[in-house]
Amino acid sequence: MRDWRRDKLAFSVFALPATAWLVVFFTIPLVLIWVYSFADRGPQGQVIVALSLENYQRALEWIHLGIIWKSIWIAAITTVLCLALGFPLAMGIAFAPQRWKNPLLLLVILPFWTNLLIRTYAWIAVLRTRGFLNSGLEWVYDRIDGALGLIGLPDLLGPFQPLELLYNTPAVIIGLVYVNLPFLVLPLYATLEKLDKSYLEASLDLGASQWRTFVSVMTPLALPGIVSGTLLVFILSLGTYLTPDLLGGPDSEMIGNLIARQFGAARDWPFGSALSFLLLYAVFLFLWLRATVATRSKGVGV
């Protein structure tokens, strides 16, 4: 048997298609965008190659900073909600009887089998003024109203006012939590599954309550999974485009939408490129932070 790691030629031949693919469809466009981000916009929206920092300066204007700030907020809230929902879920699966684990995991990744667009439209059907949620609420409301009528209090509640659930920031957050939850559950599950259960038993054995065991033993030991999962969710939410586009209102625009607008209606590719690269730098920053935390706590098994 030849060792492919030593055999440079065989290695290069096999690696060639993938490398070519990455260079043509990933590296070159990325470089192009990077060059564009220093370019000027012509009167008709042409890209005039230059070496100006004007696009970056514009990106840091208040109006755009506001959108960036709002995106970070939405991504942060989404991440926190995903963690709050995903931790118990991952724990439930990791500690479920062996034969239940795979079916439960399948349920978590089942949504991936459907197109994201369709899943997001489904949320519109649920949340809109005459959607499933409001209809359900109205049904309950009517029963209560009827019951109050029976005990001699008709018209106490007045007519049902549907809740405004769609085209606002909460709707975006609901959609993002829904879309990104599996990205938190899966790495966290993988960590919890590998976790030696005798650590938890040792904690209980030493007199700690279940809650104390969760806080002092399970959470620190699950930290690698928590960090991976939350970072993934945060990065994905930060750059999202589709969810705020479909579920958001005028005031829930995120960076993704701003960038999309530059490449579409606004026809300002240089500015869009600069925004894209700012987003990329932000992602690198978070990844770097994560790596720093990981090396710093390596000694304690995190």
Partner: protein, 361 residues
């Protein structure tokens, strides 16, 4: 060990996992201050029994009493026992001192007292000065001491140890055996230790329960277990044993007459009633080898040396006889490299009738 008040009472405890019966109708009383060993081959249910004492498993049937109190509704964190896990389970994200102090912190012991007791516990296991080390900076043996200190600092009524020495190398294991005994004597806590290593159990424990496929086969002090096993299983599991299949041919004045294929009829002192097919056993170190037949009264068997295994302190001689291959241990008392026994030698094996075990089970 006839302590009237047992610290642990295991009463007809059965544990089933689905169709697997891990522990089968076990009854055991463990006395206060005892060093008690659960011994048996892998998979016989030792760990399961220990985990039921700690509260991580619940008996399918039967009761467990600790200090006279029924444990069925007592959670693991409320039991007056502590466990040293087979994997040690030393928390990797806490320093040695924080590991040892954990069980005190979570129960609200004041910080000053924690510091003092942690110091004492670490001194007890000879880890003073290691307070700030992280577990990754410790050897396997040191990690085990941390696990020990962490359990002992709680001052439990009973310390449970699951195969505590199995991960250590032979030299360290022997040293730790002695040290555990010393530790147990100095703290006076009841130790219940699980092991599959008979030497470990024999050398450390005051009393041993031998388990086999979920059942407790015999509970006895080491010497009694070794010299008077009550069944073929125990005889074979503890130490080395020459086992023959025999048939009772009669009884006369406190002796049974036994017929063994390939041997003259033998008479063995035996108090109880025995009839039909039985097992006959004799330990290899009770057998003497000589070129001439034994004197009157001894049981003798002629054979040819088939193999000699040299162990330094002694040699095991395998003798091919009409009754099968028997093993005899010869101490290498003289300082010489010339073997006293050579392959192919025609020798007589002989032993005292009183050294013969009659096994009816």
């Amino acid at each position: 060990m006839d302590n009237p008040k047992p610290i642990i009472s295991i009463r007809n405890v059965t544990k089933r996992f689905g169709s697997v019966v891990a522990v089968d109708d076990a009854c055991l009383d463990i006395a206060e201050g005892e060093f008690f060993a659960l011994l048996g081959p892998s998979g016989c249910g030792k760990t399961t029994l220990l985990r039921m004492l700690a509260g991580f498993e619940h008996p399918s049937e039967g009761d467990i009493l600790i200090g006279g109190q029924d444990m069925s509704d007592v959670d693991p964190n409320k039991r007056p026992v502590n466990m040293v896990f087979q994997s040690y389970a030393v928390f990797p994200h806490m320093s040695v001192a924080r590991n040892v102090g954990y069980g005190l912190r979570v129960t609200g012991v004041p910080a000053a007292e924690i510091k003092e007791r942690v110091g004492e516990a670490l001194a007890l296991v000879k880890l003073a000065g290691y307070e700030e080390r992280m577990p990754t900076q410790l050897s396997g043996g040191q990690r085990q001491r941390v696990a020990l200190a962490r359990a002992l600092v709680k001052r439990p009524k009973v310390l449970l140890l699951d195969e505590p020495l199995s991960a250590l190398d032979a030299k360290l294991r022997e040293a730790m055996q002695l040290e555990l005994v010393r530790l147990q004597q100095s703290v006076g806590i009841t130790f219940v230790i699980v092991t599959h290593d008979q030497d470990e159990a024999l050398s450390m424990a005051d009393r041993i329960a031998v388990m086999d496929s979920g059942q407790v086969r015999q509970v006895a002090p080491p010497a009694e277990l070794y010299e008077f096993p009550n069944s073929r299983f125990v005889a074979d599991f503890i130490g080395k044993m020459n086992l023959f299949a025999g048939r009772v041919a009669g009884a006369a004045d406190g002796r049974v007459l036994i017929e063994i294929q390939g041997m003259d009829r033998i008479a063995v002192p035996y108090g109880d009633q025995a009839r039909g097919e039985i097992g006959v056993a004799v330990r290899p170190e009770k057998i003497r080898l000589a070129p001439t037949p034994p004197t009157d009264g001894e049981i003798g068997l002629r054979g040819r040396v088939r193999e000699v295994a040299y162990y330094g302190d002694e040699s095991h001689v395998f003798l091919e006889t009409a009754a099968g291959v028997i093993t005899a241990n010869r101490p290498n008392a003289a300082r010489t490299t010339t073997p006293a026994v050579a392959l192919g030698d025609e020798l007589w094996a002989s032993w005292e009738p009183a050294d013969t075990l009659v096994l009816t089970e």
